[in-house]
């Protein structure tokens, strides 16, 4: 018993949770923006993957991991723009478009790896982002272990989540986004350009997911491997719903998912004897449980998934 508690309450788990929550929380916030504006974003998975690939590509070409991060953001944004064109302009079904985008991202990155690095499995190693230590904080006991030293993207994530929350709930733009997703006709009749707001939100969504991808390939590792997003986009989708389409809520949900993930990794190396397969299932089981419980009670934006065309107000 003592052993189990030690494993669960190990402070290193908390540090690992923050680390592993980073890409999920970023993508979840992307999902929040997209869906608050009325566009379902199943394509987060593909956007993360694209971001991860573009990050490595950028660093490979320029030698600078920071240019890689920029590449990742732009790459994710392009995927967002693709989804936006299909879902908003061409009025395709949002879910189908998003799934298509995921398949496209997987195929495209694998193929480009083959072309660029003659290897379908992994890319070459590139310059990754160095770790960053906050002076003073790193020397404080406990807090220093948890927050003192991380990839710069982790700190960036925390700042961005807060900024995202401010934008969504405290600015005119955020109000317009929420109104577009709740009642596009209402937004239109007060002179809000619904499609412009949606394009912005969906592209921003892609940029954020792309940044999450850069964390995987430039901070956690320093190369790209096939399908390295490994379902994080779907977890982000779940975290976004669990977090009630709120960036901070999404961060909380991401912590929860990341914590179970950290825990399962910790258990594998601990003296607790459980079959590995079962341990590895933990985060996914939790995702299902949380979704089954939370989705029933959650209320998505009222006009989520609907196509809106100005001049045909009901």
């Amino acid at each position: 018993m003592r052993e189990i508690l030690d494993v669960i309450f190990d402070i290193n788990n908390v540090t690992a949770t923050i680390r592993m929550a980073t890409p999920i929380a970023l993508a979840a916030m992307g999902g929040a923006f997209s869906e608050r504006s009325g566009v379902i974003n199943i394509g987060l998975e593909g956007m993360i993957l694209t971001g991860a690939f573009c990050g490595v590509l950028g660093s490979y070409i320029s030698g600078s991991p920071w240019l890689g991060v920029l590449f990742a953001v732009v790459g994710g944004g392009l995927m967002g723009a693709t989804l936006a064109v299909f879902a908003i302009k061409l009025k395709a079904d949002h879910v189908v478009s998003g799934v298509g985008l995921n398949i496209l991202a997987l195929g495209l990155t694998s193929w480009l790896m083959q072309v660029l690095w003659k290897n379908r499995g992994t890319s070459v190693s590139v310059n990754g982002l160095p770790m960053f230590s906050i002076p003073v904080v790193r020397d404080v006991p406990v807090l220093g272990t948890i927050l003192g030293t991380h990839s710069p993207l982790v700190y960036m994530m925390l700042i961005l989540i807060f900024l995202g929350w401010v934008v969504m709930f405290k600015t005119p733009l955020g109000l317009r986004i929420r109104m577009a997703g709740e009642h596009p006709e209402a937004a239109d009749t007060v002179g809000i350009n619904v499609h412009a707001v949606q394009y912005f939100s969906v592209i921003l969504s892609g940029c954020l997911a792309g940044l999450g991808g850069a964390y995987l390939s430039l901070a956690q590792l320093n190369w790209f491997s096939m399908n390295m997003s490994a379902g994080r986009g779907y977890m982000a989708l779940a975290a976004n719903i669990f977090g009630q389409w709120n960036p901070i809520g999404g961060l909380g949900a991401s912590f929860l998912f990341a914590f179970t993930d950290a825990l399962q990794m910790r258990i594998q190396t601990s003296p607790i004897k459980l079959p590995t397969d079962i341990i590895q299932m933990l985060p996914y089981i939790l995702t299902i449980l949380v979704l089954a419980g939370a989705v029933i009670r959650s209320r998505p934006p009222a006009a989520l998934g609907r196509h809106y065309e100005s001049g045909r107000a009901a």
């Binding site: 405290k170 005119p172 109104m179 937004a187 009749t189 007060v190 002179g191 009222a302 107000a313």
Partner: protein, 515 residues
């Protein structure tokens, strides 16, 4: 000089001409009624003025200057505001958020909520439009939501305010409040265009009236110079004589009886989101409907009428109490069994429960009978019989359709409803549940359906009429029951109620004076 002048406005939707060279002028600070049947082109004309539709031809002048709007934003900038029939409000946002969206006060990059709230409070006090600026729109009453819509327009500097059928959603007392607000706005210099098809309201509030029919203007006059009969004739294009209801025979046998029926908790098949909601259940409802009588259920929608309808036709099981049809307990019989016992229903939600809009006219006319002879034999549909039946009903009930194969969704609301009425009444029912049977219909179609219901009464059918239209309930019913918050708060012969009594009872006041 006119506040607004529209000249030779033409608008087509495909082959349909919605507005055909319509001229329309409104004087500053007048209340101008735009009167017409459904489909006459009133809303289209106003949507053009508000920039939601683009006109195909014609000119618009605001304060004498020609204008061209490419969207509502332009119209708003020229001082035009519109309150739509279906409110343009996001239920989950607050009153303040809904009002300032698109024209938000800012502090740096942030939205200045304190100032926004102050702006809302200031305008709402100036015109006596009381609302809580921090309430979520979905939690306030429909009447208050309407005020939010009006505030939204005023805060954007509307000098011309278009109200699209604003009374359709209101209880009688709320209509009075709205008219007071309109008068105050007029005194303050606001010009109001009031779209309606109700003559009484036209007479009560407007200075002048313009009548549209089939997309054309047929008249503009001072309201004081127009009698309701004249206006009705201008609107419909023929004379309308209200149908006469012959004396009441109170001794018919009891066909439908509800004994202490209650519906508690949970959202049933008919649950809807939005609105005031929450209290729309049934509380110990007992009533009888006899053969040869119409029992009218009056009440503001959402006070249990939907649940009442559902319990009787078997879509919802009551928590307690019994429903009897000709003395037999049908409480747990289910919709199929109840229909087979001769209960016909004109459902309040026509689109969701009355028709399948992608099915043809002929198919819709056998819904509910699709398994029985002569429409099916050995489990196979009999197209010839179905078409014969459809042709008969369409002819009998004056359903205007291009063909029997036409999808019902392409018919006008009035014709869809005639189809439902035709299907239900031609089944030879004992009991007819008619829920909001003329909602959204114009005078012509309403008159037709009223006559059909009265004819059924003459034939000795029992009819339960559920309606939010007070005039309708009063015109047709032998007895009236008023529902408020799921209870019957009064049940008396129709003559014993004055309009004022009914209005008060519907609004939940005067429960003390109920018998």
């Amino acid at each position: 000089m006119w506040a607004v002048r529209m000249e030779k406005i033409t608008k087509r939707f495909g082959p349909v001409v919605a507005n055909d060279a319509v001229d329309f002028e409104v004087a500053p600070a007048e209340i101008h009624c735009l009167l017409g049947e459904n489909g006459a082109g009133k809303t289209t004309l106003m949507r053009i003025l508000f920039g939601l539709y683009r006109k195909d031809a014609g000119e618009i002048y605001v304060d004498g200057k020609p204008v061209s709007f490419s969207g509502p934003r332009d119209a708003i900038a020229h001082g035009i505001g519109m309150v739509h029939q279906h409110f343009m409000l996001a239920g989950r946002l607050t009153v303040t958020e809904n009002i300032v969206a698109g024209a938000e006060p800012r502090r740096g990059v942030l939205l200045d909520y304190a100032k926004a709230r102050e702006m809302v409070r200031e305008v709402s006090e100036r015109y006596g439009l009381k609302v809580d600026p921090d309430a979520h729109v979905e939690s306030i009453s429909v009447g208050q939501q309407q005020r939010v819509e009006i505030l939204k327009a005023l805060l954007r500097g509307a000098k011309v305010l278009i109200l699209d059928e604003p009374t359709a959603v209101l209880a009688p007392q709320e209509v009075g409040d709205l008219f007071d607000i309109m008068r105050r706005l007029k005194e303050g210099g606001t010009t109001i265009i009031f779209i309606t098809h109700k003559l009484k309201e036209t007479a009560a509030i407007s200075d002048r009236v313009t009548v549209l029919r089939d997309g054309r203007r047929v008249a503009t006059m001072n309201t004081a110079d127009a009698s309701p009969a004249d206006l009705a004739e201008l609107m419909v294009g023929r004379q309308i004589v209200p149908p006469a209801r012959k004396g009441h025979s109170p001794d018919g046998k009891v066909v439908l009886e509800l004994q202490n029926v209650s519906v508690r908790g949970g959202l049933g098949a008919g649950a809807r989101t939005g609105g005031a909601g929450g209290k729309a259940r049934l509380n110990n409802v007992s009533l009888q409907v006899r053969s040869g009588e119409i029992l009218g259920i009056a009440g503001v929608e959402g006070n249990g009428q939907l649940e009442l309808e559902e319990v009787i036709v078997g879509l919802r099981k009551p928590t307690s109490g019994r429903v009897l049809l000709n003395g037999r307990d049908i409480t747990r019989l289910g919709p199929r069994g109840i229909r087979d016992m001769g209960v016909a229903c004109i459902p309040s939600d026509r689109l969701r429960r009355g028709i399948v809009d992608s099915f043809s006219v002929a198919q819709n006319l056998i819904l509910g009978e699709q398994t029985s002879a002569p429409f099916a034999a050995s489990g196979i549909l009999q197209p010839r019989k179905i078409v014969e039946h459809a042709a008969k009903i369409v002819n009998m009930f004056d359903v205007r359709t291009a063909s029997l194969d036409q999808p019902v969704g392409s018919l006008s609301g009035g014709n869809q409803q005639k189809l439902v009425v035709g299907r239900e009444l031609s089944r030879g029912p004992n009991l007819i549940v008619a829920a909001q049977p003329t909602r959204g219909l114009d005078i012509g179609a309403t008159d037709y359906i009223h006559r059909q219901l009265l004819a059924m009464r003459e034939q000795g059918k029992a009819i339960l009429l559920i309606s939010a239209e007070l005039d309708e309930v009063r015109a047709l019913s032998d007895r009236i029951a008023v529902m408020y918050e799921g209870q019957i708060v009064a049940l008396r012969p129709a003559e014993e109620f004055t309009e004022r009594d009914l209005g008060l009872l519907m609004a939940g006041q005067g429960v003390g004076v109920a018998s």
